[in-house]
Point group: C2
DNA sequence: AATGGCATGTAAGCTGTTACATGATTTT
DNA sequence: AAAATCATGTAACAGCTTACATGCCATT
């Protein structure tokens, strides 16, 4: 996963140093993913030898080493972004982060896919609740469990509503 | 983390086998945590040597090995449940799962702690949005990023509302 | 008789964290 | 002058997954 994320970050900003990337994880993208510098630096070396990125040849005033995404790297990134979302992983937010343009067809695709996933998850949770907590006694018996099942259902409901209204705004 | 979860599961059900525990992760608790059998079996052995659990001495008809929580184990579990929630980790749902009784003082404590965490997170996200997306141009510039920031804020808002209404119901 | 689920265990490998290390620059 | 931040790297370790391995029992 990590190489795709580094690819996405470098692509978003045109050029980035390892240090800048590690700083990014303290801010916005840190909501969805984290990587420490000891993971980032070796991964960048691997990506160079795979030909996904290249060090910026421009003479730089600073001590940082900047990396650029290659043609191959751009293709790899687009391929990864186009891969269908899966139930596990939950890469929805992460992938959205790498889509800059409102008109990208990927945007609508991703939202629709996520809507499918959340809808089926929502139905699954509701049927579990019916099964596991059919009466008041079963709730009193495992009160914490019933609370978090309710919470999970409410979370899915809210996410579905947000996705639907976002789709509407995308027209 | 894993040993506490196994402790909580065994405590919830009085006695459990390794296989039963691994099955649990396919159902309800699988929403919040997962562990494979190759992790569970060695961990159970460690917990025996630590004196947290013990194999059920009763002659069992089945081939399964059942484990019981010890006195020490119960104390360890209660200690862990009582530890304040932290920003990272997100153990709220997991810990709730191990609280069976509606009248447990821990229940209210956990909900109030989580409310604090979500409230401060909510404020942080809102100030980030003001900072990063001050005008329409900045939104158009990183549309996917703005979407997921909006989503994160909405998610926190919804969680906060749920926690508040749950607190009211606990009264 | 063969397939699949029950039940337990070990081994290899990947991912990620914490700690160790170094040196330059900037701030106090 | 000292402390903090910038900047890059390596090493040791913890946690978890996948694959390997075995044997019993129930169903088809």
């Amino acid at each position: 996963m990590l190489p795709y994320i580094l690819l996405g970050l470098i692509n978003n900003q045109t050029k980035m140093s390892g240090y800048q990337i590690s700083q990014e994880f303290n801010h916005e993208i840190g909501e969805f993913w984290h990587a420490s510098h000891s993971q980032i630096y070796p991964e960048l070396q691997r990506m160079i030898s795979d030909g996904w990125i290249e060090p910026d040849a421009e003479v730089s005033d600073s001590k940082s080493i900047f990396y650029l995404i290659t043609f191959d790297g751009k293709n790899i990134l687009q391929e990864w972004l186009s891969e269908p979302l899966s139930e596990k992983d939950d890469l929805f937010s992460l992938k959205l982060y790498f889509i800059k343009n409102q008109d990208s067809p990927l945007l609508r695709e991703l939202v629709e896919q996520q809507l499918q996933i959340n809808s089926s998850h929502y139905e699954h949770l509701r049927s579990r609740r019916e099964l596991v907590f059919p009466d008041e006694a079963s709730i009193q018996n495992s009160y914490g469990h019933s609370l978090i099942l309710n919470r999970a259902i409410e979370r899915e409901r809210n996410h579905i509503n947000w996705l639907k209204s976002t789709l509407d705004n995308l027209e």
